[in-house]
């Protein structure tokens, strides 16, 4: 039987500073990361095991080794096991490793709160009259995109070719459930008033290693951050940053179920699209969901029909396997979305970001007779993603009771301070909480301690399902300090 994937998201946030047209996004992003005060360890990120140029198809690309002295590389590891850092010219939040879709959704939301608190702290350091704003979106509307990536740790035994073959049609058609909506089009795509996805206009290849140019539907980066004999990490770059909790939940839950069905070889024959790259734009640009796309066998199907196909397999899979309870909940929400969306976008405006945004945009068009190129519509589009609860339009919809939620505010706050308990993120977060002054570096699969001895001690954590609360709480209780911890683990500490 397939393993339930370990899940994580990484979101690059859009950043701007008002009344300062010459603001430097790298400096501003560093300000955000360094200003964050809540629940962080002031330690270095270790790049020892990072290999972004390793390709799942079996070769290595000469990508630049990461320069730890680059002033743009600002990092924090948080008490909840997450990573808050500057990537390129954006602040980015990587959730800790999560063991099910509900936990992953909660930690994706916690990332928004961490970013908001960091921006608030950064704002106290800016000159009078300037304001730093962060957006959880994927496009500036001018041809520049930034990512919201998903990570699924699956068995190494799943051949990469099978992943690519089966998942392309799934990822291309899931936009109808995962899009966060956009006014207009970019990147040389045909004109459209409103489209389903923020990211769709930017995909140009079916498969490849790139993430910033010629973005591929299937990304081949092979960097498992764990035992590479045992695992591969599927790095998904085709997806929108979503604020709706139910939408994020179904996004990561559906993908996890499809991956498990694939590993257990119950997905059936792969559905092959005649033109996957063309289909991305065609589906995103059709908010009626009525236009079919061509399949390689000459037949046609709509995105909704193809998503129903994957849903049927996933529903059967959940019914016949003993999975984490969250997966039953995924099936319930996924089924409701597929049923309701057939009635039109208004029927899912309480659960899907693109439909919520489109409701507002269409409201303005009707009430104020605005043309599609009216700046106000583009502002509504942008401000939907402002993560400030007072200004962000998603937040205003939540406050007006128009968006359904999965979590209370208190649960999200809690997740900014505490790691998931059933992955190695627990060990990382608790080591920072308990022995923070002795932890000098961290990354996904190791921690480095300075206990005052003559050498630093590196603790590898190559198994993401170890270091859990069940496995390490006794160890912590018996280890009042880092030196004792290392001794108790049996590591050298002369």
């Amino acid at each position: 039987m397939a393993i339930e994937p370990i899940i994580g998201t990484e979101v690059e946030y859009g950043i701007t500073v008002t009344n300062n047209e010459s603001f430097n996004p790298v400096t501003a992003s560093a300000l955000v990361v360094n200003a964050y005060g809540g629940g962080r360890g002031r330690i270095r990120w270790s790049y020892d095991d990072e290999t972004p140029g390793r390709d799942a198809r079996g070769f290595n690309v000469g990508m630049q080794p990461i320069d730890e002295n680059d002033s743009g590389l600002v990092n924090a590891v948080l008490l909840n096991g997450a990573r808050l850092y500057v990537d390129h010219a954006h602040p980015e939040y990587s959730t800790p490793e999560c063991s099910d879709p509900l936990e992953a959704t909660l930690h994706d939301k916690a990332g928004e709160l961490v970013m908001h608190q960091a921006a608030e702290a950064a704002n106290t350091l800016l000159p009078e009259g300037q304001r730093l704003l962060l957006y959880k979106n994927n496009s500036d509307g001018k041809g520049n995109s930034y990512g919201a990536h998903e990570n699924y740790l699956v068995s190494r035994s799943v051949p990469f070719g099978a992943l690519a073959q089966h998942l392309t049609a799934f990822f291309v058609t899931r936009q109808i459930l995962t899009g966060s909506g956009k006014v207009g089009s970019e990147h040389g795509r045909p004109d459209v008033g409103f489209q389903i996805s923020q990211r769709a206009d930017f995909f140009e290849e079916e498969i490849g290693l790139e993430t910033t140019l010629k973005r591929p539907i299937i990304n081949t980066r092979d960097e498992p951050h764990s035992d590479a004999q045992k695992y591969r990490r599927l790095h998904v770059i085709i997806g929108d940053a979503t604020q709706s909790e139910i939408q994020t939940f179904v996004k990561v839950g559906a993908a996890s179920l499809v991956l498990m069905a694939l590993e257990d070889q119950v997905l059936g024959d792969p559905i092959l699209l005649a033109d996957p790259v063309g289909a991305i734009t065609a589906i995103s640009h059709d908010t009626t969901l009525q236009q079919p796309v061509k399949l390689a066998d000459g037949t046609e199907a709509t995105a909704l029909e193809l998503q129903r196909h994957y849903f049927d397999i996933a529903e059967e899979y959940v019914a016949s396997h003993d999975l984490a309870p969250a997966y039953k909940q995924v099936i319930g929400e996924w089924r409701s979305l597929l049923t309701d969306i057939a009635e039109g976008y208004e029927a899912v405006a309480d659960r899907l970001d693109w439909a919520a945004k489109m409701t507002m945009v269409e409201g303005y068009r009707r009430r104020d007779s605005l043309a599609w190129d009216d700046p106000k519509l583009h502002l509504v589009d942008l401000q939907f993603h402002d993560i400030d609860p007072d200004k962000g339009l998603y937040h205003r919809l939540v406050q007006a009771g128009r968006m359904r939620r999965l979590f209370s505010d208190a649960e999200v706050v809690e997740a900014t301070q505490h790691a998931p308990e059933s992955t190695r993120a627990y060990f990382r977060g608790e080591c920072l909480r308990r022995y923070g002054s002795s932890v000098v570096a961290a990354n996904w699969d190791s921690l480095v301690f300075d206990t005052g001895a003559s050498t630093l001690v590196r603790l590898p954590m190559m198994e993401p399902r170890k270091g859990t609360r069940d496995l390490v709480d006794d160890l912590f209780a018996a280890s009042p300090d880092a030196a004792t911890l290392i001794h108790n683990i049996g590591g050298s500490n002369d």
């Binding site: 859009g14 047209e21 010219a89 990512g147 990536h149 942008l382 205003r396």
Partner: protein, 62 residues
């Protein structure tokens, strides 16, 4: 068309009218609720939409 058929058609037309009115009324209610929301959103939207949107440029993303 017989009288009975005519009567049935007239009745059907009336039902359709009533249904249509209900749809229109519900549509107006929905529009009113959305207008209330838009009024509220208008109070938080950034000032000078054209300038604000123009200045939002993001380079160097994945």
């Amino acid at each position: 068309m017989t009288d009975r058929e005519r009567a049935r058609k007239r009745s059907a037309d009336q039902t359709e009218d009533v249904t249509q009115d209900a749809v229109t009324n519900r549509g107006e209610e929905v529009a009113e609720k959305i207008d209330d929301l838009l009024d509220e959103i208008d109070t938080v939207l950034e000032e000078n939409a054209a300038e604000f949107v123009k200045n939002y440029v993001q380079k160097g993303g994945q």
